[in-house]
Amino acid sequence: MTTDPLTTNPVPYSLEVSGLAFAYPDGHQALFGVDFALERGERVALLGPNGAGKTTLVLHLNGILTAGAGSVRVAGLPVDRAHMAEVRQRVGIVFQDPDDQLFMPTVREDVAFGPANAGLRGAELEARVTRALERVGMAEHADRPPHHLSFGQRRRVAVATVLAMEPEILVLDEPSSNLDPASRRELAEILTSLDVTVLMVTHDLPYALELCPRSLVLSGGTIVADGPTPKLLADETLLHAHRLELPFGFSPR
């Protein structure tokens, strides 16, 4: 990649992370030089044991945490103070707990929050909100307060809040946690129907296999494996070394 995405590279990577290192203020080093790049439209799983640094990495992707060393680029734009508004519009993060993500009194207002911050108003905003809610099948719940919805419905609305910003890349932190099998499948259908780049953080290896052709394994703050999901999940020594386990009786082939 060169510095000028417009002239030399017509289709920049959706996401490009290079040499990313980060230590929390208390001195705990969570990331030690992370490198990877996602092509536009790819669906990639980010696997790794508890404490591997996955959430820390996600918080770098839209500049909530700032890299100690290395860099993050979104669609060719560096994630820095000068490009923050643009970057936050292009990177949609769905957080693990939908109650953290849905903070407005009604579903409609919540979904409108992001695009309204980007300056959209009136009919255009309304259309954006309706479209996002339709894509996750929640249009008829637009006027309900989020806390009256079921957990699976709230997760879907959380996805809609991010889709409404029409992001270049969708980042989901543990999207399948706390979902029953039917909600899990519905979410999978929604995610496969989208034509955006998806980075999905998960412990749920079968879910990764189902949704993401490619996977990254983050362990101890570095990327230790990057390749086709079926191949990674068939590598028992790799899984064992990084505390990843397939459910009992599950075979990745």
Partner: protein
């Protein structure tokens, strides 16, 4: 806007009063209260006129008298205070039912009772015909400091979440054999309160992250772009204007 959020003061309905934009009703109630408060206390008939006006509004809003009266119970402490006044106030005395009462105290008590009751009555009608959510939007439209409106909105959104959290903690305590009896339980209750504080604080932090990720920079976008029409304003302001018409002769006579 919005279903749900049924608060105890609200009476669901579709009367013309319900349909008026919240901010016009807020202004009307405020102006009405100002007029009532500035009426000289000796003009007893003027207060009767105000009471009739409120009754007419209640009728138009289809708020049953019983509903309104029960919700005016918040006034009781003031009534108690007002009833004390004739006994403790200084000045000339008069005899009522064989008791020596202060004349200025009697007028003072009447003043508090009449003006308090009318103020509370108007507020109860406002609450009965306006969703809490719309009241907040109304305040925002009236250029109430946005920070205050945001804080109130968050209380509205997270009240249930926090109550749930508290209920879960209580269930967890009781499932392990705890019973809140006697001072020995206070330590446990205090620790529960502490844990609740930490949890809500941390949730606040996570919610803030989610907001920042969607482009929040400190100001909530005003989404409800509908301004009130001239007809709506005049309908709402009919109340204080009529009250003023009653008040003026009270001053001049």
């Amino acid at each position: 806007m919005g279903s749900g959020h049924a608060h105890r003061l609200h009476l669901h309905g579709h009367s013309p009063v319900h349909r008026l934009p919240a901010h016009t009703k807020l202004v009307a109630v405020l102006a009405f209260v100002v007029v009532v408060v500035s009426t000289p206390r000796e003009a007893v008939w003027a207060f009767a006129g105000y009471a009739l006006l409120l009754a007419a509004v209640a009728r138009a809003a289809r708020v049953p008298a019983g509903f309104a009266l029960r919700r005016m119970a918040v006034e009781v402490p003031f009534v108690a205070f007002a009833l004390l006044l004739p006994f403790v106030a200084q000045g000339g005395r008069t005899e009522v039912l064989g008791m020596q009462l202060s004349v200025s105290g009697l007028w003072g008590a009447w003043n508090i009772l009449a003006k308090g009751t009318l103020g509370v009555g108007a507020s109860v009608l406002l609450a009965a015909t306006t969703e809490l959510r719309d009241l907040l939007l109304g305040l925002q439209r009236l250029r109430m400091p946005p920070m205050l409106v945001q804080i109130a909105s968050f209380m509205l959104r997270y009240g249930d979440v926090i109550a749930d959290e508290l209920a879960r903690m209580r269930i967890a305590r009781e499932s392990r054999g705890f019973r809140a009896r006697g001072p020995r339980a206070w330590g446990v209750l205090a620790r529960t309160a502490g844990a609740l504080f930490i949890r809500t604080y941390e949730r606040g932090e996570r919610v803030h992250l989610a907001m920042v990720s969607r482009g929040y920079t400190g100001a909530m976008p005003v989404l409800d772009g509908r301004a009130a029409t001239r007809a709506q304003w005049s309908a709402a302001l009919a109340l204080p204007v009529t009250a003023l018409a009653v008040c003026l002769p009270a001053w001049t006579l």
